[in-house]
């Protein structure tokens, strides 16, 4: 029974728990056993919190007996290790936070705790969420459960791999330039990046504050909707979170997409796109049309500038955000000859190479003499990219594209050339710059058996049409599979 339980999706576990067929403790034990059995192969977990999970599961069983059930009560949720958890080590996959024990919960963590969710542990990632392959973790790379020689994508690589490998049914990731969607695509799962401001960022260790957004990574669309419903909402502790009524995305999954207008951006089907991916995505769009959607071509003319804009703005924000790691309030300290020297020595020892590279680039872009030429110019091009989307969404409801131009690549394949690695986010970055919602869901497999992701994007706060369209596609197809590990 225990191994079968780990194959269940969140909403399937909900039905079993509510029907009294299993207890939350049995569910928690099944997933903890699975982690114990296979995590040494994929390295998705940085910290396993078995005692906490079992304690929460017991409390969840009590709630179920008392009839105080919420959709996630008793369901395990893995947390990317940049979400601060009270009393549980939170590292951001960095040496500089190796021993950091937060004294508070981030808002999404507190919401899940109140909903009665169970936390089996903290998930590996690229250090400070900077990376597209999860090779930048200070605690070792994550392996793709579909092929251990390949990367799971990044930066939420641990979240994606743990869900794909059935170590957890649900996980949270964060997406600054594609960090939920790209690993979801590489690992064959569903990942949703909500509209900027939908989900509170309080207690998310910041990378680029104008772009970061927390979202669900799950095995199907219904689970993604359930998790989103649990974490969305205004938070007085995040001044960029938006006042909106409570959501019921799960309740809106009708399966009917007649009349939904689908846009296909010509700039996303260009040279360099793997032909197998192009075919799978075009087949998926044809399937949506067959299901009643209306398909037309749209143009997002400034797409080719997005990566350049992103690597100036995100690094500039990061250089400022990461200034807080100064060895005074937290982090280990490496003593130098004076205070400045202590800062330098601590940060040189504590940050990994990619983090330093981005701090350097961002500091350069913000420094005197270059501010207008780089940072200010990038902000203005950001306006053009946002306008492209605003124009396109006058004509269509959902834009469909590949999530990534390739399937998961091999470990080490792109580590020597930072720019080549950055370019792997070319289809996911524009959406963050425009602050819009998007998702990736499985739409096929390559000849070598690697998952292919379909990206769907929508206008601001239009998660409902996004999830509805994805759900209809998922119901009509069979690409949600589990790798043999």
């Amino acid at each position: 029974m225990s191994s079968e339980l780990t194959l269940k999706k969140g909403h399937e576990l909900r039905a079993l728990l509510d029907g009294g067929e299993v207890s939350s403790v049995e569910v928690a034990r099944a997933f903890l056993d699975r982690i114990d059995e296979i995590d040494s192969k994929i390295n998705a977990f940085l910290t396993v919190t078995a005692d906490l999970a079992l304690e929460q599961a017991e409390a969840a069983d009590k709630r179920i007996r008392e009839g105080r059930v919420k959709p996630l009560t008793g369901i395990p949720v893995g947390l990317k290790d940049l979400l601060v958890t009270k009393g549980v080590r939170t590292t951001c996959a960095s040496r500089i936070l190796e021993n950091f024990i937060p004294p508070y919960d981030g808002t999404v963590v507190a919401k899940l705790r109140e909903a009665g969710a169970v936390f089996p542990g903290k998930l590996n990632m690229d250090e400070f969420a900077m990376g597209s392959s999860n090779e930048n973790s200070a605690f070792g790379p994550v392996k793709n459960p579909w092929d251990l020689e390949r990367v799971p994508g990044g930066s939420s690589g641990g979240s994606a791999a743990s869900v794909a490998a059935c170590e957890v049914p649900l996980a949270l990731g964060s997406d600054t330039g594609g960090s939920i969607r790209e690993p979801a695509s590489f690992c064959g799962i569903v990942g949703v990046k909500p509209t900027y401001g939908r989900v509170s960022r309080y207690g998310l260790i910041a990378f680029a504050s104008s772009l970061d957004q927390i979202g669900p990574m799950t095995r199907d669309v219904k689970d993604a909707a359930l998790v989103l419903d649990a974490i969305c909402g205004h938070d007085p502790k995040d001044s960029t979170s938006i006042m909106k009524e409570a959501t019921d995305f799960a309740g809106a999954l009708s399966g009917d997409i007649k009349g939904v207008r689908i846009g296909v951006p010509k700039e996303y089907f260009v040279e360099g796109l793997d032909p197998e991916i192009e075919r799978a995505v075009k087949d998926a769009i044809a399937k949506l049309e067959e299901l009643g959607a209306e398909v037309k071509e749209v143009s997002l003319p400034h797409t080719e500038y997005a990566v350049a804009v992103y690597y100036l703005l995100a690094t500039a924000e990061a250089s400022s955000n990461l200034a807080r790691f100064d060895s005074v309030r937290y982090t280990t300290r490496v003593d130098g000859s004076d205070l400045i020297d202590t800062y330098k020595k601590t940060r040189a020892a504590g940050f990994g190479e990619e983090v330093k590279r981005r701090i350097m680039l961002g500091t350069y872009a913000l420094s005197a003499g270059y501010y207008d030429a780089y940072y200010r110019r990038a902000q203005r091009v950001r306006t053009l990219i946002a306008r492209d989307f605003a124009e396109a969404f006058k004509e269509v409801d959902v834009i469909c594209s590949p999530t990534v131009a390739s399937v998961a690549f091999k470990h080490g394949e792109k580590t020597s050339d930072p720019l080549e690695m950055y370019l792997s986010d070319i289809f996911t970055i524009p959406l963050n710059l425009a602050g819009l919602p998007g998702l990736s869901l499985p739409c096929g497999f390559s000849g070598e058996g690697m998952p292919i992701g379909l990206q769907m994007m929508a206008g601001p706060f239009r998660e409902e049409v996004l999830l509805k369209t994805a759900y209809a596609f998922e119901e009509a197809t069979d690409f949600s599979r589990v790798p043999g590990l």
């Binding site: 900027y196 960029t240 205070l339 940060r347 500091t363 350069y364 110019r377 602050g435």
Partner: protein, 97 residues
Amino acid sequence: MKISKEEVEHVASLARLEFSPAEIETFASQLSSILEYVEKLGELDLAGVEPTAHVHEIVNAFRDDVVTPGLTNEEALMNAPYPEDGCYRVAKVIEGE
């Protein structure tokens, strides 16, 4: 845009980082190629285009000026490398006296 080793050292100092001579070499070459790539933003005519710092039109988000519970002194200090008498201890920063 070629970035010199001296510039890398200057930026490292602004960023409160330090590097070995070999790392400086690598950064000079990698940052140069990234900056060369972002030069493509220079192709665009941006006359009349305002910058976007933030996608939503929130100006200020105020709350009522009411005291709410925060971290205790003990909690705030629990991760500090050198707490002392309920404070963070740092190296001397003011010259003289």
